[in-house]
C-alpha cells in the first residue's frame, strides 16, 4: 500500500472511529512510519536496529540471504507487511518441510495473528494503534504473498489479465510487466514494473509481491493471475473491494482500541460508519490513478474540518535524539519503537512456536537458553516491571 491509504485514508478511518484530529494525526503518522522505519533511519536517530519495520531499497540489495539474513528479512516483512494467515496450514499435496514452512507464511486477511495484533495495541497509545492499522490494511492489499523471499510462493507467470468493469461483467486486457524500476507504471497501456525473474528460491527479487510489482498497492485495480502456490487455479484480485473492507475493518478495530467496541473479532466491518460517505469512497477507490492522496486528503479534511499536514519524516526525530536515555521511551518515536518491537516479538514467537524456523528465535519463547536478539530482553524486563 502507498501513503495515500496508510496516511490519508487511515486518518479518515480514525476520524470516523471517533478519534480527535490530533489523535488521528498521531495514528496515521505512525501507520505511514512503518514503511519508513528502516535500519538506516534507526542508525541516524541511534535507536535499536531490531525495531526496524521495513528495509529500504539499498538495504534489500545488500541484504544477506543466508539463514540469519533470511530470518531478519522474514521477521520484518512477516510481522509488519505480510502477516501470516495460518501457521499450521497444510499445502494440498504432500511436500517437504521447507516448502511447508514457506507456505504457512502466506498472508491473508482476518487471521488469528491479526486479532492478536489489534489486541496487543489496546491501551498502548496511538503509535501502537497506527502500527496495528498498517498491518491490518496490508493483510488486504498483500494477501496471497508471503513476507519471506520465495520463488515457489511469490512467483507468477505471464498469465496476467487486468479486468475492467463492463456492464455486469468484466473485459480483460493482457497485462505486461517490465523491469525498469525508474519508469512509472503505464496505466493506459497496462504496463507495470516488477522485480526481475530470478530462479533462485531465496533471491530478494522473490520477496513479497515484488514479482507482480505495485499492483497490490493500487486501490483501483482488478486482475486475475496464477499465484505460484495455487496449483494452477486462477485467482481474481479485486482491490477496490479489498480496500473497502480494509477501510471498514480499520474503523471497527479503532473503535475497539478507543473502547467503544468491547471486543475485536475477525470478519467484522463497520460499514455503518462509512455508509454516509459510500459514494465518495467508491469514487476514490475506483479512480485510475497512481496516487490517490489528494482525494483521501480532501475527504479527511471534510470529515474533521482540519487541515491534514503532509507527512514529515523528521518531525519527531529531534525530540527522540535530544531525550536522555531514561526519557526516550516517553517520546513519540520511543513509543513507536517499543510498540514495533512488541509486535515483532509477538509474531516471531508465534512463528517459532509453530515449529517454523524462518523468522528465527524469540527471547520470549527461548529465554531459558538466552538465544535470540538482545534488544528484546528489554521487553521482558519491562513486562516484569509492569506486573510488579
Amino acid at each position: 500500500m502507498n501513503p495515500d491509504f496508510h496516511y490519508y485514508a487511515t486518518y479518515c478511518a480514525a476520524i470516523l472511529a471517533g478519534f480527535s484530529h490530533d489523535e488521528s494525526m498521531a495514528l496515521c503518522y505512525s501507520d505511514q512510519l512503518v514503511d519508513l522505519c528502516s535500519a538506516t533511519l534507526l542508525t541516524k536517530i541511534k535507536g535499536p536496529l531490531s525495531a526496524a519495520t521495513t528495509q529500504l531499497q539499498l538495504e534489500l540489495m545488500d541484504a544477506r540471504t543466508d539463514m540469519i539474513g533470511l530470518q531478519n528479512i522474514t521477521r520484518i516483512w512477516a510481522s509488519f507487511h505480510f502477516l501470516p494467515y495460518d501457521l499450521a496450514a497444510e499445502p494440498p499435496k504432500r511436500c517437504s518441510k521447507r516448502y511447508r514452512s514457506k507456505y504457512r507464511l502466506i498472508c491473508q486477511p482476518n487471521s488469528e495473528l491479526l486479532e492478536r495484533t489489534v489486541r496487543l495495541a489496546k491501551d498502548k497509545g496511538m503509535q501502537a494503534a497506527g502500527i496495528a492499522m498498517h498491518i491490518l490494511a496490508d493483510t488486504w492489499a498483500h494477501r496471497n504473498f508471503a513476507g519471506t523471499p520465495s520463488l515457489v510462493i511469490n512467483n507468477s507467470n505471464r498469465y496476467f489479465y487486468e479486468l475492467f468493469p463492463d456492464g455486469d461483467g468484466y473485459t480483460e486486457k493482457k497485462l505486461t510487466f517490465r523491469h525498469s524500476a525508474s519508469a512509472p507504471d503505464d496505466l493506459e497501456r497496462s504496463i507495470y514494473t516488477s522485480s526481475l525473474s530470478v530462479t533462485s528460491e531465496n533471491s530478494i527479487m522473490n520477496l513479497g509481491h515484488g514479482r507482480v510489482g505495485h499492483l497490490p498497492d493500487y486501490c483501483f485495480i482488478r486482475y486475475k493471475y496464477l499465484p505460484a502456490w495455487g496449483g494452477y487455479e486462477e485467482l481474481v484480485k479485486d482491490n477496490p473491494a479489498d480496500y473497502h473492507n480494509a477501510f471498514c475493518q480499520m474503523i471497527y478495530a479503532m473503535k475497539y482500541l478507543r473502547g467503544v467496541n468491547e471486543t475485536f473479532e475477525r470478519g467484522h466491518y463497520d460499514t455503518e460508519a462509512a455508509a454516509p460517505y459510500e459514494q465518495e469512497l467508491q469514487e476514490i477507490l475506483n479512480r485510475r490513478q497512481l496516487d490517490a492522496s489528494a482525494d483521501w486528503k480532501a475527504l479527511g479534511e471534510k470529515l474533521s474540518g482540519h487541515e491534514i499536514e503532509p507527512f514529515d519524516l523528521e518531525r519527531y526525530q529531534a525530540e527522540y535524539m535530544n531525550a536522555g536515555e531514561d526519557e526516550k521511551d516517553g517520546t513519540f518515536l520511543g513509543r513507536f519503537i517499543r510498540a514495533a518491537m512488541a509486535q515483532k516479538s509477538m509474531v516471531t514467537t508465534a512463528i517459532h512456536q509453530s515449529g517454523n524456523k524462518l523468522a528465527g528465535y524469540s527471547v520470549e519463547y527461548d529465554k531459558g537458553r538466552r538465544r535470540g536478539i538482545k534488544d528484546y530482553r528489554v521487553l521482558l524486563r519491562r513486562e516484569k516491571e509492569e506486573r510488579s
Binding site: L56, D62, A63, W77, V152, N155, E201, P227
Partner: protein, 181 residues
C-alpha cells in the same frame, strides 16, 4: 544481486581465469582434458542441484516443471561431457567450443527475454552472447578448418578471459529492486 551472489560471481570469474594457465602451460592434451573435466563436474553438480530443488520445492509451483526439464538437461550434458573427455583432443576441443557457443546462445535468449520485459541489462547480455558465439565460430574455423589446434587453444583462452571479465563486471553492477510498501 545479494552479497552472496556477487561473491559467487567473483569466484566463478577466478575459476575461469585459473583455466587459462592450465590450458597454456600444461601439456596440451592434459590441459584440455582437465578443463573439460572441471566444466563437466560443475554442470553435473548444477544439474543435480536444480533437479533436487524441483523435487523438494518447485514441483508445487506453477511452471515448476521447467525446473525439472532444466535440471535433467544440465545433468545430461554434464554426464555426456565426462564421457567424451577420454576421446581425442579434437573431439574434446570441439565439445568445449560447443558448450561455449551454447552459453552464448543462452545469453542471447536471456537478452531477448530481458528486452521484452524492458530490463536495461539486455544490451550487455546481447553483446556478450553475440561475441561468445562469434568467438566460438572463429576458434572452430581456426582449429578445424585450418588444422591449427594451438590457435584454437589461444582463442579459447582469450574467450575465457573475456567471460571472466564480463562476470566480474556483472558482479559489481547495481541491480534494481522493487520497493515493497
Amino acid at each position: 544481486m545479494s552479497h552472496w551472489q556477487r561473491i559467487k560471481s567473483v569466484i566463478g570469474s577466478v575459476l575461469l581465469l585459473l583455466m587459462i594457465p592450465i590450458l597454456l602451460f600444461m601439456p596440451q592434451e592434459q590441459g584440455i582434458s582437465l578443463v573439460a573435466f572441471v566444466l563437466s563436474l560443475l554442470l553435473i553438480a548444477y544439474g543435480v542441484r536444480v533437479t533436487w530443488f524441483y523435487f523438494r520445492m518447485a514441483r508445487h509451483m506453477v511452471g515448476g516443471k521447467m525446473m525439472l526439464c532444466q535440471g535433467i538437461l544440465l545433468l545430461d550434458i554434464g554426464l555426456f561431457s565426462v564421457s567424451v573427455i577420454t576421446t581425442s583432443k579434437v573431439v574434446v576441443l570441439g565439445y568445449l567450443l560447443a558448450v561455449f557457443a551454447f552459453s552464448g546462445g543462452i545469453d542471447i535468449l536471456r537478452a531477448l527475454e530481458a528486452k521484452r520485459y524492458g530490463a536495461p541489462s539486455w544490451k550487455l547480455k546481447l553483446i556478450s552472447g553475440c561475441v561468445t558465439i562469434a568467438a566460438a565460430a572463429a576458434i572452430g574455423i581456426a582449429g578445424f578448418c585450418f588444422g591449427s589446434p594451438e590457435l584454437a587453444v589461444y582463442g579459447y583462452c582469450v574467450s575465457l578471459l573475456y567471460l571472466a571479465v564480463v562476470r566480474l563486471i556483472a558482479a559489481f553492477r547495481k541491480t534494481a529492486v522493487i520497493y515493497i510498501a
